[in-house]
Structure formats: C-alpha cells, structure tokens
Chain length 205, copies 2
Amino acid sequence: MNKPSEIPAGIEGRLSTRDLLIRAGVEQCTEGGFQMTGIETILRAVGVPKGSFYHYFKSKKAFGLAVVDAYADFFHRKLQRIFSDEQTPPLGRLRNFVSEAVSGMSRYAFRRGCLVGNLGQELAGLDDEFRRRLEEVLRAWEAQTRRCLEQAQAAGELRKEANAGELAEFFWIGWEGAILRAKLTRSARPMHLFSDCFFKQVATR
Amino acid sequence: MNKPSEIPAGIEGRLSTRDLLIRAGVEQCTEGGFQMTGIETILRAVGVPKGSFYHYFKSKKAFGLAVVDAYADFFHRKLQRIFSDEQTPPLGRLRNFVSEAVSGMSRYAFRRGCLVGNLGQELAGLDDEFRRRLEEVLRAWEAQTRRCLEQAQAAGELRKEANAGELAEFFWIGWEGAILRAKLTRSARPMHLFSDCFFKQVATR
C-alpha cells in the first residue's frame, strides 16, 4: 500500500528538501512507528543538516502530522485515479484497488502496511491530535469508497437495499485489519480472503 | 478487550512477582507499544528492584514474549468460557464475545485495544519471533471461533454451504480492524458495525 517513492514530487519533477524529509518520514514511520523514529535518522537518510529540519517543521510532532497529510494526499489521489476509471465497472474499480494494494504490499515483502493503520494503532491512545487527524483520513477514504459503491448500486452491481455508506465503513474497518494481518502472515491471503468475503456479500446474486 | 486486572493470579489468589511484572507489561505494551516501554517503568509500577526483573526474564524481548503468552492464555480461557456456554445458541455466544469486548473497551474509554493487534502492527516488520508468535495466537483464536461456527452450522444457525474456517479467519481479520478503529473513533461503533455486517452475512435467512 505504502509507496513512499510515489509521494508527491514538485511540478518540475524534482523533490524539494521538505518533500524528501517527508518521504523519509513516511518510510521510517511505516516501518518503525512514530515514537521510535529519530529526527537524526531522517536527516541522515536525506543528507541535510539539523537546522534544515527545523526550518521546515517546528517540532517532531508537526513533522509527523505533515507526514500523515502527505500520505493522505497521495492516497486520496490514488483512490481518485482508480475510482474514476470509466473503462471498468464500479465494483471492478474497488477490485482494482485491492489488486494494486496486494502488489504494493508484496513489493515490500509484506513488511510495510498502511501508515494510517500503523500510526493509528500506535498513537490513538496517546495523542488526540494524531487520533483525530488519522480518523479524518479514514473518513475521507470511506467517502470516496461510498461514492464508488453508490455508482455500483446505480449500475445494478450492488443490491438496491444495501447501505453504501455502511458498506464503505465496513470495508475500511476490515481492510485495515487485513493489512495488519498481511504483515503478520507475510502473505496476501488475508487481503484476498477479506475482499472475497466482502464482494460476495455486496454483489447482487 | 484487554483487562490486565484479569491476568492470571496464582492458585492462592495472590499474584507472584513474575505475574505482577507481566500484568504491568500487558498494560504498558497495550498503551504505549513494546519498544517505548522501559523496563524501569515496569519496575516502578510493580515496586521491585532491577535484579528481580532479570531473575525472571533474561532480556526485555523474553519479557515481551512472556507478556504475549500471558495475554494469549488469558484470552484463550475467556473464549473457552464464552464459547462453551450451553445456555446460549452458538452464534449467540459469538455475539456475547462481541458484547464483552465492547464493555471491556469502554471500561478504558476505548484507549486500549488488543495487545496482539498493537504489537502486531508495531513488530511484524521488525522482529520475526514476535511476528510468528503473534500470528500463532491469532490462529488459535480463529480455531476456537471456527469450532463455535461449526456448532452454529450443526444447529442450523449458519448456512450449510458456508466455510466455517474461512468465516473464522474473516472474523478475526475484520475484528482486529474494528478494535483499531474503535480506538481512533473512541467509540463502539466500528465494533458494532463490523459484527452486525458479519452476522448478517453468516446467518441463515
């Protein structure tokens, strides 16, 4: 899922120092969590002096929140791209999202999951600002997914009586669980198993 | 879900020093993760000197694995108690598990989740021994849940053509996601939403 290499490059195609710091932050936080990530490690990865860091971010927490924002933005555009693919029927788009996520996870040997799931697990009980921001991000992904499911409903792919909003919530609740489990099993099985059950439930029979 | 106060007391009803250390470990690791938990904090919580810690555990990692084992054991017995309740039909037992989990989470204002989900998210990519042990624990809970679903099937509560093993896997994949999300929303909604969808899917119509 997490592809730091795809985190936004500048218009001119070159990453600014700030972007490089954030990209390294996504990588480090996804693998080792926020609290264990040292600013020194980030600086070393990017090769910039400490003063540079504090030029862009007033604190480590401000940096962490900027990392979440960048990831949220990257992911929002990814969902937008997949869900606006007019060549594919709506439910097929959600299936394509699942396939892309499986490829993304396997590219990192199922060691990296979703930054939002990782930080949510780590920080939900510890920091209210992170908790609220991470929940907001998930709500936004749900909203995008709900629209996709509504289109599936309009196209007759999804049962008329289904509640697209609740199904989108259900999808994201379970999907974050599937990503966690894929890391534990080092395999795509939980992602396939969850999505197969999900599609079996929603599709018109 | 996590009720450290219910972590095993000795036969005589008093907790040994080792039990007290482990109980403090469950609490600390569930709230702040494994890596951020300092042995000093554990010692202070229990009020024993450092030498005592190394008398029981050869390293922090050995302690962490013992914490996982104690939690797994506690949870195994909890599932056993709920799933062997002959007064309740099998699917009702799984519903009772959900209700107990909701009460357990709300008791801690949805700040604490499942130790296995927490440590899984944190350590799956970092330590293979933890990863394998945590996956084993989830497999054991799945096996208990599968037996409950098979009983539901025998009782005609669950569709004959359903695959109880896969449904148990599906339940635990999504349930860990629901616990994470309950921490993020500080509410039981994700737990109810996930389980309602789950029961709607499995129940005979």
